[in-house]
């Protein structure tokens, strides 16, 4: 793990990269990374996240600033700007049931080809997907998702990169931290090794490539 300044962390992310971002309606989203992606005028990103938050908030900032070409999310209902760009064909949107989305990301990080889920069987979601029957129940095969970069926000990060999360800001963060080539984390507090007890580490240090310096 290396500690890097904010601008250097974001400079590693090229235009057209596939990013997976923690957060649920912006709670637990690494906001400083969002602001810096906008400032560096990144373009054509593929965004994988739970939702597109609201205009001006969380990953919604990336949509506002036209950083994003394709989004894979469970919900865009809180962001009229995403809907407007979708109607104007500026952004393409893949909507995925939330439980399926998080499992597809988990599968990507856990070395699985995908998951079998009953969610979506018999609905529009099953279109184009393989159906598999196991012991009398029909499931959809939902394939794994991985990204080039995972952008994670933690409550605590120690000097080695162990991460712990706060309350409902945990959400997608520990799952996305497994599912990308390069993991960049911000934290509310960067603390000495040992402050986060082994039992309280949620994301172990070897997963984290870069901690963004605070201040």
């Amino acid at each position: 793990m290396k500690t890097v300044p904010l601008a250097d962390a974001v400079a590693m992310i090229p235009d057209g990269a596939r990013i997976v971002v923690g957060g649920f309606l912006s709670v637990g989203t690494p906001d400083r990374l969002m602001d810096e992606l906008v400032r560096q005028r990144k373009r054509d990103l593929t965004l994988i996240a739970n939702d597109t938050a609201r205009p001006g908030v969380g990953v919604g900032k990336l949509v506002d600033a036209k950083c994003v070409r394709h989004v894979i999310v469970s919900h865009i209902g809180t962001n009229p700007e995403t809907q407007r760009q979708m109607m104007a064909h500026e952004v393409t949107v893949e909507l995925v049931p939330q439980g399926t989305l998080i499992e597809r990301i988990r599968a990507g990080g856990y070395g699985l080809g995908g998951v079998l889920t009953p969610t979506g069987v018999g609905t529009l979601v099953e279109q184009g997907k393989q159906k598999i029957e196991v012991e009398g129940t029909t499931y959809l095969l939902e394939t794994a998702l991985k990204a080039d970069f995972a952008l994670v926000h933690a409550f605590l990060a120690d000097y080695q990169g162990n991460l712990a999360y706060a309350l409902t800001a945990r959400n997608y963060n520990p799952v996305v931290a497994m599912a990308a080539e390069t993991v960049i984390a911000t934290a509310d507090h960067i603390v000495p090794v040992g402050v986060i007890a082994p039992d309280h580490v949620v994301t172990p240090a070897p997963l984290v490539d870069y901690i963004v310096a605070n201040g």
């Binding site: 649920f24 709670v27 919900h75 865009i76 439980g99 998080i102 969610t119 979601v125 309350l167 409902t168």
Partner: protein, 216 residues
């Protein structure tokens, strides 16, 4: 009593101590306010919280303690937080005892449509499909009609949320069960006649032998 209150009060009577309960957005959220005083359930929020409490007092909100709508909430003693994979494992895995969901349409067999209106409203399904598919019991909370049109229909014209059928629908007029594969009129709201319910419903209703008045 306004329609939403009738619906929420009736559904609240389904809550039993120890149940794990997930409430959807809209009328379902109101159910928590009518939890009987001698009953204590665990409320599950899909963003990763069990033990969701009331809205915090002025000045006591915390930015990382929120509900599925991103609004500040409190956490009750015994609460727990977890990641989204676990949260949806609770739903699909059958660990949520009851979910209460809003509805656009419910059909004769109990199929729910509540996530999109093609060409008009495409917000994304969020957690609705997982809840409708995986919770042990699915209760739909909705008004009986919308703009003068029945919402309990022969066949859903809107895209359905799950192939799994809901257990019952509670409206301001009636409680309708689907356990037998038919739409069975089980309860009618105080002051409402069977004929009124029939007139407001497109689906064919079977009147239960045990038809009774809704207790509120």
């Amino acid at each position: 009593m306004d329609p939403s209150t009738v619906i929420a009060k009736r559904i609240a009577r389904e809550l039993k101590s120890g149940m794990l309960v997930n409430l959807g957005i809209g009328i379902p959220t109101l159910v928590a306010g009518f939890e009987p005083p001698d009953v204590q359930v665990f409320f599950h929020s899909e963003n990763g919280l069990i033990g969701t409490g009331a809205i915090p007092a002025e000045g006591m909100a915390h930015p990382t303690l929120t509900d599925a709508g991103g609004r500040p909430v409190t956490a009750l003693p015994g609460a727990s937080t977890f990641d989204s994979a676990i949260s949806f494992g609770f739903m699909r895995g059958g660990h949520v005892d009851v979910t209460v969901l809003g509805g656009l349409q419910v059909d004769q067999q109990g199929h729910l449509a509540n996530w999109m209106i093609p060409g008009k409203m495409v917000p994304g399904m969020g957690g609705a499909m997982d809840l409708a598919t995986g919770a042990k019991r699915v209760i739909v909370a909705m008004q009986h009609m919308a703009k003068g049109q029945p919402k309990i229909v022969n066949t859903c014209t809107l895209p359905i949320t799950s192939a799994r059928r809901v257990d019952c629908v509670v409206t301001e007029l009636a409680l309708i069960r689907f356990a037998s594969g038919n739409a069975v009129l089980a309860e009618i709201a105080p002051g409402v006649s069977v004929d009124e319910v029939m007139a407001a419903t497109e689906a064919e209703l079977v009147v239960s032998d045990d038809l009774c008045e809704m207790q509120l």
